[in-house]
Symmetry: C2
Subunit: 557 residues, 2 copies
């Protein structure tokens, strides 16, 4: 049994109504899902947003991820716990994990050690059913497209130009590319199709950016699923699918409340991919959290070049949020990998490698400042880290005027992040934030891509083929010129080359394609191979997951 699971099982959870009461949520607003999970009613969300003051917003992001691991989720949980520990009212906002990766290699996504959200097995499996609801909405739309064509195609959909794909919350490479509607007249017109994992569905992105139920239904209606032979877009509203999709998502849109091992309230809601989508938990949860607490601690997917940039330029821009500080998580081990050390050699002290690798961290720190936010570095400590290695990071950060705080929440829980919590509070109390998105709404879409590439990725240039530029012009002509950009890029590097670690310079960002996600409200720029349906490994985790004789789950983590 894993240590994470052992710790989670040993914990005594408090009834969710008690956690809710502490967070200022009355019983009447709770829809319990078992004893330790609850959804928070949409009416209460609306009234809290209208009536209560808004707290501060702190984003937890990271350096470019490496196989060494960084611990962004554990730091988010640890920071929230520590803020509560020092007497602040803090709410933690996380993404919901996808079911698919649980059965592959990834394992759970509910934190670890003494910095976990619980009940971790529920959260990692079906939880409150949100992803199943999103899957159903996605696939109802797909069924209605083929059904529309089957019954005469009054809208004139060009079957070669259907862009809407089906979805499952499963790692299943066999579904990436299929030909459907085979088998004769009764089954429709055969065409190429495919499935994405549900976190890559535009329904997920629209769900996470919706301000309320009415906004969600409008966004769903705007989703473009295909075009006619003469290029006219066909939307979910044209197919009259938006209403039923919203009905399927009504209960799911209510944020989910759980607790950390330390008893902090946590809203775990929504979970879009961080490449093809914006990689943050729902606007519903974040805004609710802000009106229930002094400080919301939330995280964004991948490193700060993708996660923080999208959180700030997409989520905060579209939701009217103004964050107040940003924590950047790093580990000595990961910095050594950015400095060129192989994973097998991480056990040896290598101060020079740390000094080289810290360039990755330093660039993220500089980038965060470009958004007008004060950064704090959280150095997530591992036992093998040496004093000299730690000093190398702290000195580099001091040179940038940024604190780098050692954290030991994995082993010590809230006590291990108290210093980080104080550092964050210093930034908040000093009111240092002057948030502004990286680029204004009004500049051309191509220019927005160029701005992100140059300012955040530090690319020398952007390569956009004429055909792709023409698509961007078409999106602008369609009225989507003000949309923010969501870049799908490797998470392992500032550049589009996943092997270029540290702080690569002089690279060119190649934009292969662009897509308009009209329902989500952003334009995706694709800069490499984007995997929207993972596969299972040679020996999937599923093979060792089972129930023991007491009916308890074995092998999930």
């Amino acid at each position: 049994m894993s240590i994470d699971l052992e710790i989670a099982r040993a914990a005594t959870l408090r009834p969710i109504a008690e956690i809710a009461a502490k967070a200022g949520i009355p019983d009447a607003a709770l829809e319990p899902y078992g004893k330790y999970k609850a959804k928070i009613g949409l009416d209460f969300v609306a009234s809290a947003r209208a009536d209560r003051p808004r707290g501060k917003l702190v984003l937890v992001t990271g350096i470019n991820p490496t196989p060494a691991g960084e611990g962004k989720t554990t730091t988010t949980v640890g920071l929230g716990d520590a803020l509560n520990h020092i007497g602040k009212r803090a709410m933690i906002c996380l993404r919901e994990p996808s079911l698919g990766p649980c059965f592959g290699v990834k394992g759970g996504a509910a934190g670890g050690g003494h910095a976990q959200v619980v009940p971790m097995e529920d959260i990692n499996l079906h939880f409150t059913g949100d992803f199943h609801a999103i899957t159903a909405a996605n696939n109802l739309l797909a069924a209605m497209i083929d059904n529309h064509i089957y019954w005469g195609n009054a809208l004139g959909i060009d079957a070669r130009r259907i862009t809407w794909r089906r979805a499952l919350d499963m790692n299943d490479r066999a579904l990436r590319s299929v030909v459907g509607s085979l088998g004769g007249t009764a089954n429709g017109f055969p065409r190429e199709d495919g499935f994405d994992i549900v976190v890559a569905s535009e329904v997920m992105a629209a769900f996470c950016l919706a301000h309320d139920l009415a906004d969600l239904q409008r966004r769903l209606g705007r989703i473009i699923v295909a075009s006619t032979r003469d290029g006219k877009p066909v939307t979910a509203a044209d197919l009259k699918a938006d209403g039923a999709m919203a009905v399927l998502l009504r209960d799911a849109l209510a944020p989910n409340l759980v607790q950390t091992l330390a008893g902090s309230p946590a809203l775990v809601h929504g979970g879009p991919f961080a490449n093809i989508a914006h990689g943050c938990n729902s606007v519903m949860a974040t805004t609710l959290g802000l009106h229930l607490s002094d400080v919301v601690v939330t995280e964004a997917g991948f490193g700060a070049d993708l996660g923080a940039e999208k959180f700030l330029d997409i989520k905060c821009r579209l939701a009217g949020l103004s964050p107040d500080a940003c924590v950047i998580v790093a580990t000595i081990r990961a910095l050594k990998m950015h400095g060129g050390v192989a994973k097998a050699d991480l056990g040896r002290e290598d101060v020079d490698a740390v000094k080289r690798g810290v360039a990755n961290l330093a660039r993220h720190v500089e980038n965060i400042k470009k958004f007008g936010l004060p950064p704090v570095v959280a150095l997530n400590r591992f036992t093998a880290d040496t004093e000299a290695e730690i000093r190398a990071v702290q000195e580099a950060m001091a040179a940038l005027g940024t604190e780098a705080i050692l954290c030991t929440h994995w082993s010590d829980g809230a006590a291990g992040t108290v210093e980080l919590a104080h550092a964050v509070m210093r930034r908040l109390d000093a009111k240092e934030a002057a948030f502004q998105p990286l680029y204004p709404d009004a500049i051309p879409l191509a220019e927005k891509i160029g701005t992100i590439a140059r300012e955040i990725y530090r690319a020398r240039d952007v390569a956009i083929p004429d055909s792709v530029l023409a698509k961007l012009k078409r999106f602008e002509a369609m009225g989507f010129g003000a949309a923010p950009i969501c870049i799908a890029k490797t998470q392992y590097s500032f550049s589009a080359d996943p092997t270029a670690m540290g702080a690569p310079v002089d690279h060119v960002l190649p934009v292969r394609d662009v897509r308009l996600l009209a329902g989500a409200g952003f334009v995706v720029a694709i800069t490499g191979d984007v995997m929207t349906m993972p596969g299972l490994p040679r020996v999937p985790a599923a093979e060792t997951i089972r129930l023991d004789e007491q009916g308890r789950i074995e092998g999930l983590f």
Copy 2:
């Protein structure tokens, strides 16, 4: 707004803990899902089955369905309500509705009028997520099959002989027949595949027949998904998928408690197809209900030739249940259709047509007696029914020694089924039941098919091609000779010809194919076209389903 929905919305629901307490279920055994739904913990199910006396079991079944409608679910609800009304402790056990048909033509499946289970919108949509869990388990197994082949196919699976299909809870004809794993090396080996609606998945059947979690895991392991080139079966256990599938289903296996409009407790759990599977709610729910009440009222899919026969020969046999009485639901309208009247002409009195059509009902009455059960006919009254028509039915039933009771639960609730409740109690109090399945375990599989065809369908003969007989012999050689038979046949007739209404004679039952469902534990005999993935109609209900300005659901019913 439909009348059903209007009535449901006007109802004041009681907190589910109150309903549970009335049914003898302590708070500690409840896992609430919102305020009006709860799962009942597996530990409590086990202890109730061990410690509490077992009540009586009453099956509600019907004549062969017609477009006129019979009202089996409303009668089940009405009878349960009336039994509680007259001072018995009754539990209602129903199947969970499938999400797919809600968006097609069917509408909801939670009863109607004043005989409904509520909250009806939840029950008809995601409910407690059971079907989503079953979908995930089905599709994890599918992914593990293709993944196994992808990584070298150590088990030697013959890709042409994979019988396991993927599943969704959606009406989507485009997925009936697909070719998957297209797109190159990274996506696997292309092969023919397809999706069934989840109620047709063997996981659903195994789930509904499982006695407990350990039994479920064993059943899942036995599921045969493919064979090798030399015909050796490959199971879910061979693929090591059974454990993870059981983990996905763990929470789902706990029965769901809701209430009727009259406040009766109802267990709504599981919902396998009634053609390719056995069409009853879960063994978990039925056995729990029996140990919580004086009388369990439950229903089975389609008419008694399919639903009751399978309930008795499959579910009761495999679960060791011994039912005590059987209610057969009919309407004057439907009997007139069996007597040859067109739907458009049902408004006119036609006593002769009733007299002709009653032959269908009479045969079902005779059949039920063959199982050693006392039948009671419930005549579900419509306003246009005339006294002379009703008398024709009652006289025909009296000639068989069977009571035919007029019911008006749709408009009157429990008061409209009090007389039926008394008639049922007379049968129970007289201890008339001497239940025995139609055929013993030990006879050959082909002979079991013949017995059902002759005794229940009144076929002159059964036509089984030699190739199909050879398959049955193979199943016997594999050790499944004792399995019961599940016949997939049209529900509209005793025969395999859907247009042969009334009580057809001299027909031959053609068995086209047989399948071994080793996990569910029965052999399916297919006698016609079996649709395992419905399509959407020209104007799907989904087009008019949406949220109103208060966020309430419109158009679902």
